[in-house]
Amino acid sequence: MNTAVSERHKVISVGEAKRRFSLRQFAVCLQGIVWRESLRFLHQRERFISALVRPLVWLFIFAAGFRQVLGVSIIPPYQTYILYAEYITPGLIAMIQLFNGMQSSLSMVYDREMGNMRTLLVSPFPRWYLLCAKLLAGTAVSLLQVYAFLLIARFWDIGPPPLGYLFVLPALVLSGLMLGALGMLISSVIKQLENFAGVMNFVIFPMFFASSALYPLWQVREGSPFLYYVCKFNPFTHAVELIRFALYAEVNWVSLAVTSGCTALFILGAILAYDPSRGFLARRGEGVGAG
């Protein structure tokens, strides 16, 4: 190996180490994390395809089958009668983000177990910032999935007015952050990998079905007032409604407030709860066991 060393490879000075990171450096860190997550996602073609297949199956099979069974009356933000496939599109978008949020959290559990997360955590940037950057990176990946889904749906004449694609972007960022933060919070309290299957059953499915993703809440209320309130207090319902209204260039203020509040709450909880020393290896005594 070559032994020459250039000037720029000399060690960092104490003064440099003491200097605070500039805003530009914070941005570089964030950009690096988002870039890496996006690259990883694009390299994992199976993940990309499965992320698209799931909502497309719902859209083209489930929605087609239930079109005649489930009538949707005119409710805001819709101005006229719409096809059932049109109605469930926002719910499927939120479903993409819900699965992505949970998948990201799965990768965080895996990374924490296997050590890849360590690279991130030994960065000198504050841990809260690193976790938020990781969250934003997961949201960016979910945006790629959502727009790919909307593009495919467009070919079947399912989708919002053209401006809706633009207006929905901030709503998608917020809902993506909320669902990602929820996943991060769950991954923070998960003790080991095997528990994640339980999370899928106890978090993802109840959240999705007890919401306005597949049916309007007034229909739920007619069937079960109790379930109506469960749906009403489900943050996922508000993410769906936020997206639904944004697709038609409108703002559902209640949903915006609930989604924003839950996002802040989940992020705070995730940052406070995240502890790399938790987890299977550490509980087994990783350091001790491994040397």
């Binding site: 190996m1 070559n2 020459a4 104490v14 690279t119 955590l121 960065s123 000198p124 790399p276």
Partner: protein, 270 residues
């Protein structure tokens, strides 16, 4: 044999070493750590002087990786204090981590990304942009004879090459202290020798300090400083020759066996 007997077996710290460590690059002061009721580290104290190669020698289960997790702030310090230069890892972790390069025992490279992408990513985690990091990374890779693999996926590299990339990555932000947790585990003899030689050269070239954790006696050189860790306790520390002499042994291997065999009756933390 109990813990008191263990204390009696400890070798004294070489006075010449303690004098040279007045401004240590790393100081671990009375650090203890437990997993629940299981004690992994017990009152561990030692220091690494500037521009030295220090070996943290211990068998599997000695507590080396726990100690590394504490030095790198992965785990919060439960008891005691760890400082890198004058930066307390618990209180000034940002400053401390800026001066620290880490190579973990388990591989932490992203196998699906290229060598260069891995380096660029890590540079970003230290606030170094792509424009600045690319030439640095290319130079580093040339120095470890991997300049022709820059755009290859890490997955296609051998174990030894991956380790070299990890070391290059750890050096990218110009750390003053490099800590490596059993970096030669699973490598062939040639790769082990190359990596060990390369890291030793870094001390001469850059005046950095190295803390090298291992359980392999043949990685210890006569001129090194060693810290013998066993069942979470420091049994001996100082210059190799000093430790060997204090223990009445002929070789570092003998000294290590004498020190650690006396503690085997103590319940390990595994």
């Amino acid at each position: 044999m109990g813990r008191n007997d263990h204390e009696a077996m400890r070798c004294e710290l070489d006075p010449s070493i303690s004098q040279s460590m007045t401004t240590p690059m790393l100081s671990v002061e009375a650090v203890s750590h437990s997993y629940g009721t299981r004690r992994a580290l017990d009152n561990v104290t030692f220091a690494v002087a500037p521009a030295t190669f220090a070996v943290l020698l211990g068998l599997n289960g000695a507590g080396k990786s726990t100690l590394y997790s504490l030095i790198t702030r992965l785990y919060g310090t439960q008891q005691g204090r760890i400082r890198i230069l004058d930066f307390d890892v618990a209180r000034a972790s940002g400053e401390a981590l800026r001066t620290l390069g880490v190579v973990f025992q388990s591989r932490t490279l992203d196998l699906d990304l290229t060598v260069m992408q891995n380096l660029i990513y890590d540079a970003a985690l230290h606030g170094i942009g792509k424009r600045e990091a690319s030439p640095l990374a290319e130079e580093m890779l040339a120095r470890i004879a991997l300049h022709d693999r820059v755009h290859d996926k890490v997955r296609s590299l051998s174990g030894g090459q991956m380790r070299r990339v990890e070391i290059a990555r750890a050096l990218l932000h110009r750390p003053r202290l490099l800590v490596l947790d059993e970096p030669t585990v699973g490598l062939d003899i040639k790769s082990r020798a190359d990596i060990l030689q390369y890291v030793r050269q870094l001390i001469v070239e850059r005046s950095i300090s190295v803390l090298w954790a291992t359980h392999l006696i043949d990685e210890v050189d006569e001129t090194d400083h060693i810290v013998v860790l066993h069942h979470g306790q420091v049994l001996a520390q100082g210059l190799v020759s000093s430790v060997v002499h204090e223990c009445g042994a002929k070789t570092v291997g003998d000294a290590f066996m004498r020190l650690t065999s006396s503690g085997d009756s103590i319940g390990g933390a595994e």
